[in-house]
Symmetry: C2
Subunit: 247 residues, 2 copies
Amino acid sequence: MTLKAQFDHTNCGECPIRHRAVCAHCERDELEELENIKYYRSFEAGQTIIWSGDPMNFVGSVVSGIASLTQTMEDGRTQMVGLLLPSDFVGRPGRENAPYDVVATTDLVMCCFRKKPFEDMMVTTPHIAQRLLQMTLDELDAAREWMLVLGRKTAREKIASLLSIIARRDASLHQSGMVGPIVFDLPLTREAMADYLGLTLETVSRQISALKKDQVITLESKRHVTIPDMGRLMEEAGDDTDGGFLV
Amino acid sequence: MTLKAQFDHTNCGECPIRHRAVCAHCERDELEELENIKYYRSFEAGQTIIWSGDPMNFVGSVVSGIASLTQTMEDGRTQMVGLLLPSDFVGRPGRENAPYDVVATTDLVMCCFRKKPFEDMMVTTPHIAQRLLQMTLDELDAAREWMLVLGRKTAREKIASLLSIIARRDASLHQSGMVGPIVFDLPLTREAMADYLGLTLETVSRQISALKKDQVITLESKRHVTIPDMGRLMEEAGDDTDGGFLV
DNA sequence: AGGGTACTTTGACCGAAATCAAATGGAAAC
DNA sequence: GTTTCCATTTGATTTCGGTCAAAGTACCCT
């Protein structure tokens, strides 16, 4: 499949992540300047985009698909430390080497910028630096919320937390509001879920079965999930049940 | 004790965190502008500086002492999600309400700015925004490293990880290099350590005793720690033993 | 010096999740 | 259609850290 076949846009104005990505605040002229240095890259599911420790010569935005940030210990234990969804930013201006592996969890398209020109633009274009700061602060909040999940929640609560996060961003992508049952496909294998949650894949499987038995969720297939009652799921996650607003 | 008695500086030029804080990149004139809107606040150990959910009308830097960011679930389970050391930044430009409790772990002095004037200065003073982005990215890295600790490390490795982090930043504060034994005081109670590590205080105590028995550490008193061999400690932490460079 | 309080250690026991192992299911390949 | 290869589920057992309980220790305050 060619790049053209995957997109129906070539200019930033038609880009699906135009209003959420690092370029969100840019004016028309700034966008044109960005267009001059951007290029697209596609990755297949499972492909490693960046290896931990490698020099990074580009930064960019996830346009479609899902990528994950993963840390690995010498003995092979791995922890996923970030889930990158469309519009999320990859890379770190002002740093030479990648601190973790970036892996394409699904087929993925990225909008890339060579690092040096992008860093130059950050200096001349406050809109970009401002937006990047906001996005980084959001990511920091998400990371800290995840620390609570990893440190203090039970296996069942961890699964419910992950499901509610995926459900929420799915709802926000599809503008589908928060009423009635929510239906989505899990973009992660049981093993990837385990790596995100600090569990083993067996425990993930058992807890999903338990949530199904207790009718917190319904499974049409192993990956296709229905959530009949979002409030119930958030109770199971141990979250404030009334904090169910979209972001 | 008056404020004056705690400081020997009143202007930014003599500030102990001048070269590390959010103002690090500022020129003399920018610093003067900051001086006009800054004020100092002291807090006693145990005092809550900001309650989760409350409106934040100031931001600032930790000048001396230690603060912690803490998340709490309805049933009382708590997870520390950040440890703020001198020069670290508190607050979030562009956000109204605090996402977590900020608590003074020790007696603490902060250099504060009212939020609105600070946000205005961020727009007119790129040096501040740039520095804040770098600091936020560093914090994000630290949070993600901590996710690996919380998700995948054993209790013993967690304790060793915490000790090595405190030892490292202590060494970096005192410019004391990384050779020979390292000596420092634990700024946290066993309970605070437990909250940081996602453990119970009993487990923290047991693992510290075990590390002492195995001579990975020596305790002159319950809080005063000597690390005879930093490499050994980092092995126990499950970290790359050769990555022991300072930051 | 004594008594209170907060912090810490240690012990006995229990349980949630990990580990080890095998079976099942489902989709692509032959 | 059936073989192969993964992903997933389920079962049996073990283990690490949690829970409950009781001392021990250090510091502060009269």
